[in-house]
Structure formats: structure tokens, C-alpha cells
Amino acid sequence: MEGAHDMGGVAWSGPVLPEPDEPVFHAEWERRAFAITLAMGMPGGWNIDMSRFARENRPPEEYLSKSYYEIWLAGLEQLMLERGLVTADEIEAGKPLHPAKPVARTLSSDGVAAMLHRGGPTQREVRSPALFAVGDRVRTKMIHPPTHTRLPRYVRGHVGVVELLHGVHVFPDSNALGQENPQWLYTVIFDGRELWGPDGDASVKTSVDAWESYLEPA
């Protein structure tokens, strides 16, 4: 989708402002928002692309005015509301008003280390040969799906070169809708002038990781 989250190359940003000795969290509520988001992944059953879409799929003015963990919180509420795990009147009231929905599993403190160690690998078995090889010239497709995608706007329609093959990975555009549809994944590298025109920095090369269906031969 064409959201405010797709920030590569946009012109409205100021300087990057590093914070000396930055803490991991800036407030107690950030700690709790982070932890409940990670913990709810288990009973919630959503995948990472569903989480990303729930965060990015909101009006630009909201996305840009909320802090990072406020967006996490809004995304989490959205995912839980969609599944009936909590209801709008409960969030409004700040307390449970309805019985819990049965869930397959929850995260106990005994399970935390194993859950983090396991992570969520996205690599899948190879079932067909890769269409492209290292060194091939490819053009990214000009697509504008209304749903989740991981092909940033700034590379769409541009010609790059395949630099790495990463095997076959879950395809985020369909995974956000519940279908893994694994595909070959490539690192595709672009010259600065190809992406940004004559004002681009010729000494800069930028790559994205692109699934096979984002690409066509060039």
C-alpha cells in the first residue's frame, strides 16, 4: 500500500538526531507495550506481515504523528479487535467486560527463551529453480497494491543487478493475507543515478531484497 511508512528518498525529513547514551526504552509504558506485543503473538496467531500491515495501514497524519511504540500499540489493538480477542468497549472501559476467547497457546515465562531463540524463520524448501542468477539485470515491476508489499516505491520500475540469492522465502504480500506462497528472494543492487537521476550520488549503490514476482528480466 502507498503509506507514509514507505519513506525511502522522501524529501520532508530533517537531520538524523542520534541520542547520546540512549536507553533501550524511554518510559515504563514503552517496556510494557513492547512486551505485550511480543507475548500476544502466540495467542493471537498472526504473522509478522500481518503485524506490519496493521501498523502501516493507517492515515499518514496518524502514522507520522505517533511515536514508534504508539504505532505498535495501535497495530496490536487492531489485530486483537479483528480477531475478537478484545472488544472496543473493553478498550474504552479499560477493563474486561466479556469472557476470554479460547486461544491455542499463551506465552509463559518458562517459554520466553525458547520462543525468542526459535524466532520466525521465513526460509522454505526449494521447489523450483530460480529464474535469475547473480549478475542478471532485472527491472522491478511498477506495482501499487492496496495491500501489504515490501517493494519500496523508490525502486519500482528501476533496473538493477542481482547480487545475492537467499533461497526461497515466505512472500510478504500474500503472507499478510494468510498465504505463505514462498518465492526465491534476491538482493538487487541499484546505482545512485539510476534511482535518483543526474542529481544522484554516483558513488552510492543501494540494494533491496526483492522476491521473484517483484522482478522481470531487463
Binding site: I36, I91, G94, P152, H166, A210
Partner: protein, 211 residues
Amino acid sequence: MTGHDHDHHHHDHDHSELSETELRVRALETILTEKGYVDPAALDLLIETYETKVGPRNGARVVARAWSDPAFRARLLEDATPAIGELGYAGRQGEHIVAVENTPRLHNMVVCTLCSCYPWPVLGLPPVWYKSAPFRSKAVKDPRGVLADFGFAVPDSTEIRVWDSTAEIRYFVLPMRPAGTEGWSEQRLADLVTRDSMIGTGLPKQPHEVA
């Protein structure tokens, strides 16, 4: 997006001053706990893990090992996930890691323009600036400008390579070993390795800075 004003009151909050967001998170945790979806002890452990165990010290140990052990360096650059696993670092947001090496002719920088993808097992959770609009928008178009924001430059003759983390591959930078560190132990070398040097927005410390 930049973690601004709402975060600046945490040092003196009492219950009468809780912000709307603080109240909302507290209420949400209560709802989820009472419904049996989350276990507060698990929440505490998740927070403790990322505040005290998983952070850029892990990555610094990986870099120091690579600087000290050529065979490890080769394994790291060939297939970083199992190499990093040798030091016990693995898992969430680091399931598929690629290490990229800086040289006098090539400077690498890592960004996630679409959200905040970052190699958690070696660097911990990302800093606010990494998730901010200025970095996410500028890194892919004007990485030299980003380096200037961090107060340093690389020579014009050095190519800059920006890795936009658009998939579940997590990149991290193997910086160049500072001169004057011959014979240093891995532990001493690790003290030179900054978080930013492993993202590509900084350089390792010089020996005199850790004397």
C-alpha cells in the same frame, strides 16, 4: 514517529500525571492478563532480556572475534547466521543474518526504509533515530548526508553501499579494525566496537579512546 515529547515526563510521573498512552497501556495489560492471554512474569522476562542480555555488546564480541580469528571471519562472511550462533547469539529478528565487510574502498550502511528491521540478536532493539523518518528517508538517497549528521565522513573515493532491509534478511556491518591494536585480546577489541559502527553510521573507537 521520533519518540518526541510524550516520552519526556517519565522521570517524575506519579499516578495523577499518567498520560493517556500510559493509562491505555496499563489498562490493556490488565485486560489481557485477566483474560489469561498474557502472563505478567513473561512480560517482565521479555523486558529484562532486551534491557540486559541482548544488545550491541553481543555484536561487538562477534566483530572482535572476526578481527582476531581469520577462520571465524571467513565463516562469518560466508554464512553469518551459524557463525554468530557459535557465540550463542540467534533467534528472533536474526533468523537469517548477512555480515557485510567495510574496506578502504567500500563503506556499508544498513537501513529499513519500510519499518524498523534490525538484527536483534547482535545489536538489540533499534535506537529511536534508526526508526525515525529522517534516517529512513535519507539513508538510501543521501548516505553521505547521514554520515555528516553523525559527525564524520568517508572519502569521496570510497563507495557507499546501502542495504535496505526489505525482507527477513538482517544485515550487520563488520567495520575495519583500528590501527594500533596489534596483539589486543578479543575482550579489549570488543570495547572499541560501537553499535553505530555495526550499522554503518559510525566508526569503531580509536585505541586512545578506551585507554
